[in-house]
């Protein structure tokens, strides 16, 4: 790898990270504003999430959990993992890290985001956070395989695990009619809410039941990192979803394709908002039943994909 390629990857990655960091609170702001409109409220200004993060970052850093170093690690890990994912996600253009990474790495990194929440809960050591991570664990086990299946279907269709090839609509690249891709699109639409942990799937945080669960002992800057990571997750999962399942228009010149891409992500965020505003929170057993059904259908899609559909 030449120095030029390295610099290109590096600059591109930083650009991606910056884009995510700047856009995430904006999308959160849109989400809040639209929720407020649905609820007949005025709602906070669009840029309120930026202020919230700044305020939290400026607060005193209190360490109240059982093992502070693990708490610190978990907070850095959560945002770190999410921002690393940002290097591998196409945002209307090819992902910067694509020559180095493959789909497996992406799956691992997404898993790491969930693990950071588990670590946070363990480090806090309070009853509520332990309840929260037991719920989170159950969710991770049944939910995370869905995204992996989607990526593997892409890989099966293209015959490679390289990121560039797997992302950008490869789920539809079947030999015949892309049954598996269409099926997966449905599944991911139904489970997207759960991936970004919004109502009705905010079960592991559930403020009115277990008081934010794993995050119960967090405050100040570390809480800001977690909140930031959560906002970034919405953007990143949105971007991944759009790249994988709604790739149409990616071939246009960049000044068309990039705005179109973010427009699609924006529509997805609106969809998330709408679902969140019109649903009551599920109980963990109800949610698990829901995930398991989706997982079963996803496996059917995988079988279809490996048979060339």
């Amino acid at each position: 790898m030449s120095v030029m390629t390295f610099l290109k990857i590096f600059a591109g990655g930083l650009a991606n990270v910056l884009a995510v960091l700047l856009l995430a609170p904006l999308f959160e702001g849109i989400l809040r504003k639209v929720t407020a409109v649905i609820q007949s409220r005025q709602g906070p200004p669009l840029w309120q999430p930026y202020f919230d993060l700044l305020k939290l970052l400026g607060k005193e850093d209190i360490e109240s959990g059982e093992s502070p170093w693990m708490q610190r690690l978990a907070a850095y890990l959560s945002l770190g993992a999410v921002l690393t994912v940002a290097w591998m996600v196409p945002m209307g253009y090819a992902p910067p890290l694509s020559p180095a990474g493959d789909a497996i790495l992406l799956i691992y990194l997404l898993g790491l985001c969930a693990i950071s929440t588990l670590l946070a809960g363990l480090a806090a050591g309070s009853t509520y956070s332990l309840l929260g991570i037991s719920r989170e664990m159950m969710t991770v086990i049944t939910l995370e395989p869905l995204f992996a299946v989607a990526l593997v279907i892409g890989a099966v269709h293209t015959g490679t695990l390289r990121l560039e090839a797997v992302l950008s609509g490869s789920v539809y690249a079947a030999a015949g009619f892309p049954w598996s891709g269409i099926l997966m699109l449905g599944i991911m639409l139904l489970s997207f809410q759960a991936f970004v942990q919004r109502v009705p799937f905010d079960i592991s945080e559930a403020e009115t039941e277990i008081m934010e669960g794993p995050l119960v002992e967090y405050s100040g800057p570390k809480l800001a990192l977690f909140k930031y990571a959560q906002m970034a997750k919405l953007v990143l999962y949105g971007a991944l979803f759009v790249a994988l399942f709604v790739p149409w228009g990616a071939g246009l010149p960049w000044y068309c394709s990039v705005p179109l891409f973010w427009l699609k992500v924006g529509v997805l965020v609106l969809l998330v908002t709408l679902v969140a505003a019109t649903h009551a929170r599920y109980r963990i057993d109800q949610a698990l039943r829901y995930y398991v059904i989706l997982l079963g259908v996803a496996l059917v899609a995988l079988v279809l994909a490996s048979n060339g559909y």
Binding site: Q39, S134, D202, A280, R281, Y282
Partner: protein, 559 residues
């Protein structure tokens, strides 16, 4: 005469064990019983005559009769009679003892522990005589509701560091503290849950952390007409209920007849209160299960009701409605028109909400089969209000023990049979329409006349009075013994949550932890709010008190 019939039945069965009785009208009965026969009489009333247990009262009667007094109150809902079984207990050198009835009347559990704490009458044979009301550090042998204890007394050997001794949790369970401060509780109370995985196996309760000593204050400091204004501060939501219930209890004791117009106004205010309480509750229940949109909409719909209350009484809450013998606010023709408009709008908007909620499968999945109270539990924990009605027990004080103008209006007692949280949601949603109906009838039928009865002489001491008022959450019961110095000798308030809370352990047993909040929420715990604001700038130490205009502008700025 219903009350005479009951007395006759009791006399036939127990004869000599009833030294005297007082039939205070068609619907009130006071029976004195010897302590030895107390348990049997209560069992007979509770089991054989199938009466509903209301509350027990302990009183220090030594300055007047040299004895202590214990009263167990029961309600014969079908026969429209409130009955009090009284026992005089020997002072026994300051350590009075009375046989416990908890074994035969299980819902008396808390009330007996309470008079053990506050008055120092020992319920002999109580299976669980743990401290209930007094703080943990309070020394043994000091009982604040005795007449020789001043209202502002704090014992010198008060031990701040003493802890409550909880029972050991069952094997294989972890302890999850629920409260004292939990985001959905909004007031301090503590459930110590025994949780196995996600399943609640049991719990122990320790509450009464914000005991304000209101009864003591009424017995030592305030006068008859001051107490209604304090009574409504018992609860932030059903304040008017306590206000009316207290006034009625005193009127009942002193045989004061309230003018009809005042009765209609009381009815209207009580129903306005039920309206905004139910709207608030439906919103809150939705918030608890994470459905914030309906929470916001319910509060938006509720707001005009609060404005109406403010136009009538000057306050959104704490209306200061009653004095003994009448009310203080008039409903003028303009208010009447305004009220009708508010009701029309409310009815239309609420129909939309009810339609939306009834169709919402997601919400039903969270509430059906959750927090079940069976009719047996309703009987044995003396559950009341929407909780009882949702379990198929048709009881409503407005119909069973009519007061104010409820005997002159028509309404339906809403009953559901599921016994779960969903049934309680349905009951409350439908009751909103009944309340609207009642207020409309009152507005039609209200007759002109005075607002207050003229009371020329002082109220006679030593008389008993009982009053049950159907609060939004269930029956609020007030028991008064009139006294000297223009104030009652003993005043006992039983708010609905007091009984309903005792049903919670059975309602949450063997269900998911996630359902705990909505189960507890379904009996409607309450919270108060402040309405004055002072802002201190810490940089230059300037204070600024917000004026009413500023606050109103702030609160009502179009959102």
């Amino acid at each position: 005469m219903a009350s005479r019939d009951i007395l006759h039945q009791l006399k036939q069965r127990f004869g000599a064990a009833l030294p005297r009785a007082n039939v205070a009208g068609l619907d009130r009965l006071y029976v004195f019983v010897t302590p030895e026969a107390l348990k049997d009489v209560c069992q007979f009333i509770f089991r054989d005559l199938d009466a509903r247990y209301i509350i027990s009262i302990g009183a220090d009667d030594r300055p007047y009769s040299g004895k202590f007094l214990v009263a167990h109150n029961f309600a014969f809902d079908a026969r429209h009679v409130l009955c009090s079984v009284l026992t005089e207990v020997n002072a026994n050198g300051g350590r009075p003892q009375v046989p416990s009835i908890t074994e035969v009347v299980p819902p008396a559990n808390w009330a007996e522990r309470e008079f053990r704490d506050l008055v120092g009458i020992e319920p002999v044979g109580h299976r669980y005589p743990k401290r209930l009301v007094l703080p943990d550090g309070w020394p043994e042998g000091v009982h604040p509701l005795r007449k020789d204890v001043p209202h502002d007394f704090c014992p010198p050997d008060y031990d701040e560091n003493r802890d409550f001794q909880f029972e050991a949790p069952p094997e294989g369970c972890v302890v999850v503290p629920f409260g004292p401060f939990h985001p959905t509780l909004d007031e301090p109370t503590h459930f110590r849950l025994y949780v196995e995985g996600e399943t609640v196996r049991g719990c122990e309760y320790r509450g009464f952390m914000a005991h304000r000593g209101i009864e003591k204050l009424a017995e030592t400091v305030l006068g008859y007409n001051d107490i209604p204004m304090m009574a409504e501060r018992i609860c932030g939501i059903c304040g008017c209920v306590h206000n009316v219930a207290y006034a009625q209890a005193v009127e009942n004791a002193a045989a004061i007849v309230v003018p009809p117009r005042a009765e209609y106004i009381r009815t209207i205010m009580l129903e306005l209160e039920r309206l905004h309480s139910h709207l608030l509750w439906v919103g809150l229940a939705c918030h608890i299960v994470g459905f914030d949109t309906l929470f916001m909409q319910a509060f938006r719909i509720r707001e005009p009701v609060m404005w109406m209350a403010e136009q009538i009484s000057g306050n959104r809450k704490t209306y200061s409605l009653c004095v003994i013998g009448g009310v203080r606010w008039e409903i003028t023709p303009e208010l009447r028109t305004g009220l009708r408009q508010v009701l029309d709008k409310l009815e239309a908007e609420w129909q939309a909400v009810v339609a939306a909620v009834s169709r919402d499968r997601n919400l039903q999945r969270r509430t059906r089969g959750v927090g079940i109270a069976t009719p047996e539990l309703v009987k044995n924990a003396a559950l009341i209000g929407p909780v009882a009605r949702a379990a198929g027990v048709a009881m409503d004080c407005r119909r069973d023990h009519p007061y104010a103008a409820y005997d002159r209006v028509e309404f339906e007692v809403i009953v559901e049979h599921g016994g779960d949280v969903w049934s309680r949601v349905v009951v409350r949603m439908k009751e909103v329409f009944e309340s609207i109906k009642i207020i409309r009838q009152c507005l039609d039928k209200m007759e002109p006349g005075p607002l207050q009865a003229e009371i020329k002489d002082e109220l006679p001491p030593g008389r008993f009075g009982m009053s049950s008022v159907e609060a939004p959450r269930g029956e609020s019961h007030h028991f008064v013994i009139t006294g000297e110095n223009n104030r009652p000798r003993r005043w006992r308030v039983r708010a609905p949550t007091y009984q309903n809370l005792q049903g919670i352990p059975a309602m949450i047993k063997d269900q998911q932890l996630a359902d705990m909040t909505i189960s507890l929420g379904s009996i409607d715990p309450c919270f108060s709010c402040t309405d004055r604001l002072e802002v201190v700038d810490i940089r230059n130490q300037q204070t600024h008190v917000w004026s009413q205009e500023e606050l109103v502008r702030l609160a009502r700025r179009k959102t």
